[in-house]
Point group: C2
Chain length 420, copies 2
């Protein structure tokens, strides 16, 4: 069989290290010229496959591809775009086949989270259901760390490290100023459905009294009285209180704490952050001076403080996807398997996409202390290796130098337009 | 003359590198045992001098003192506490003399910003006005970069670097997701009175179209129509718009933009951040999906991404303060003098405290483009050297290892309590 081309796409929210997976896919593919021709990357993810905007990665130098390992976010563009089921939207699948056929694409590498795993599964079924031969391998990626079967998700270790480092630093700030200034600091972190990212902040507390003093999880119903009592106790005991709060903290009725029903001067409904709500509650009930930070995208883009472990795994899953495909596999996701906590050892494995698609892995309850305000030693053992090691990007003029691809598109061949 | 002890205190908002100045003071003092005995550090700044809580830095190992260079925030505690004038509050000055006399303190090193320079000046006048011989030298420090006479302020270069790096990374995130997701991102930065920190974010834009697309300064009256037009133009042109906004952006009537008069569900007035106000305005007027981050203390505590230039200068001004004192000087602040932009060369100088106290250096108007939305080349030439170089702290288990002092207090000698 002669070599066929590969399609690679980034999907969903980007991370500090998703480009390392792209690098892994492209570098590994270049080592198999007998099996894989060009790697064509979808511009803006799967949308590029539908619109036939395919970036020719063979036009990018080896140096640029290598530099992707040091570059945050999605170099080829990512998309929040979920293909519907085959029965509901046969048109999109027919278009995929049209484009894939026109460009002789025999491999599909999809780099994303749970929704993307579902898309990847559907593509893997094109062979059987629509008679188009293609091998589809899912390359896991999500800062949310919520994919099943894999021990952890590429992208998570770096947000985890960002969170732990940032709250530790803010804790030193509070400790030094609390005598006459701010008493309470809240760091709001992303992660609406699961508390993995907030939990990672807990790693910064290594000894009793260390920052953060309180971690708030979406998994734990917010108990305002208990929370305020805890904050006040910390202020009395340590002079200050530092808090990592997930944006997804919920009231006992299930509503988001951040969904306060506030309106602005124009009568528009506000969706202020959870940090703001917590801060104002603390101010009005306890009277403590507060400050808060909202990490938002900074945390998932922070390549400057990426976890070396996360980076290594992100690169490795990209490479492995190609090796699996070359070995004839399809319909699987590459997984990371933990062999030991300390010293941390891991290897790669695989899991069938049919079992993965749209399943969220929640944080185990025993990762959270009984009182609901911190992480347990078990969580610590799980999380700590994932933030291990530093891998700094190159700098020039004081600024990190991130790769920009040429992004040259291959000539269109289908002759038809497609609206997404 | 036999050696006399020195008093060192940290004052005002801390920075990622103020401890490097402490390290400079203590290390230099240890090199002059003929002139300087112990360095006693005020616990919680000047408050420690009033309450006679004096940390014995001679009890800290050379390794701990050296590690201060890598540790953010104020290791000895800082305070927002301004001494009133001598005539208004003679009691505090008499207490200072009582404590200084009891501990044979002949040198006063005060590490802070404009308010602190005023306090340092008053202490330097104790010799003349109250007959207590003491030499007072100001060690400059402020992330706000608003001290006069010095080319830049230790602490600023590191927040500048944090801001430029963070917005660059967020820009890569937006660029990769804007096709189907967020179109506008706002990074809110500290700096209520002057736009130095926001301006630093502008450094990330090296080529046309680079992030950030818009910078908002407190110095420029907010023009909502022009702002919205600019944002919309960026979204049309680049697919997205990235913004660095100073928390101190003001309406034409002088009020803070963030002071929206909103009330929460309990009727309490909200002081939401400027990012939130801008975001909601963009959403309601242009309909673009937004995200925003609020850096807050993370930016001034971010030792993990400190500027090596800033660190070097912070250490150097600490050392120089001691050398100046040993040379018999008093009533001066150490200054940084720029000798050339590129290659960047600087040296140390001094300025009389009488000229400095309570003078704020504003950002020159010609640092801001005529349209008010970005920095000029002149600003770039000034700012760029200040973020130069990286100096990473040591890590263990994936986390930065910051110094903790023993903080042993010397025995009290005055026998009297003093309430602050």
């Amino acid at each position: 069989m002669s070599a066929r081309n590969a399609f690679y796409a980034q999907s969903g929210g980007v991370t500090a290290v998703i480009n390392a997976s792209a690098c892994g896919v492209i570098e590994a593919a270049r080592e198999h010229p007998d099996k894989i021709g060009k790697v064509l990357a979808g511009r803006d993810g799967i949308i590029g496959a539908l619109t036939e905007e395919l970036i020719d990665t063979s036009a990018e130098s080896a140096a640029t591809i290598a530099a992707l390992k040091q570059t945050p976010a999605g170099a080829f563009g990512s998309a929040r775009y979920k293909l519907k089921g085959l029965d509901e939207n046969r048109r999109e699948y027919e278009r995929l086949i049209e484009v894939f056929k026109a460009h002789d694409i025999g491999y599909f590498f999809y780099n994303g989270g749970g929704d993307s795993a579902d898309t990847c599964l559907k593509v893997s079924q094109l062979s059987e259901k629509m008679g188009y031969p293609i091998q589809a391998i899912h390359v896991p990626k999500t800062m949310d760390n919520d994919l099943p079967f894999t021990d952890c998700c590429p992208g998570f270790g770096s947000v985890a490290k960002y969170t732990a480092v940032s709250i530790r630093e803010a804790g030193f700030d509070l400790a030094s100023m609390c005598k006459t200034s701010t008493k309470v600091f809240i760091l709001e972190v992303m992660g609406r459905h699961a508390g993995w990212t907030a939990a990672a902040g807990g790693l910064a507390a290594e000894r009793d009294g260390d920052t953060p003093h309180v971690v708030l999880f979406p998994e734990i119903e917010f108990d305002q009285a208990a929370f305020l009592a805890r904050v006040d106790d910390c202020v009395k005991r340590y002079g200050y209180c530092t808090i990592v709060a997930s944006e997804g903290v919920r009231n006992p009725d299930g509503s988001f704490l951040a969904d306060t029903g506030n309106t602005d001067a124009f009568g528009h409904k506000q969706l202020g952050g959870v940090a703001q709500v917590l801060a104002q509650t603390i101010k009005s009930e306890l009277g403590h001076k507060y400050h808060y930070a909202i990490a938002d995208y900074l945390m998932r883009a922070a390549r400057h403080i990426a976890s070396a472990t996360d980076l290594e795994q992100s690169y490795a899953v990209g490479r492995a996807a190609v090796e699996y495909a070359v070995a004839g596999k399809s319909g699987v996701m590459v997984t990371i398997e933990r062999e030991s906590d300390d010293p941390y050892r891991w290897s790669l494995g695989e899991a069938p996409l049919a079992d993965i698609a749209n399943v969220e892995k929640m944080m185990p309850r025993d990762f959270i202390t009984d009182d609901g305000f911190h992480i347990t030693d078990k969580a610590r053992r799980y999380l700590l290796p994932l933030i291990g090691g530093e891998d700094y990007p190159p700098y020039a003029n004081g600024l990190p130098q991130y790769a920009q691809i040429k992004g040259q598109l291959v000539d269109r061949k289908t002759g038809t337009d497609f609206k997404v």
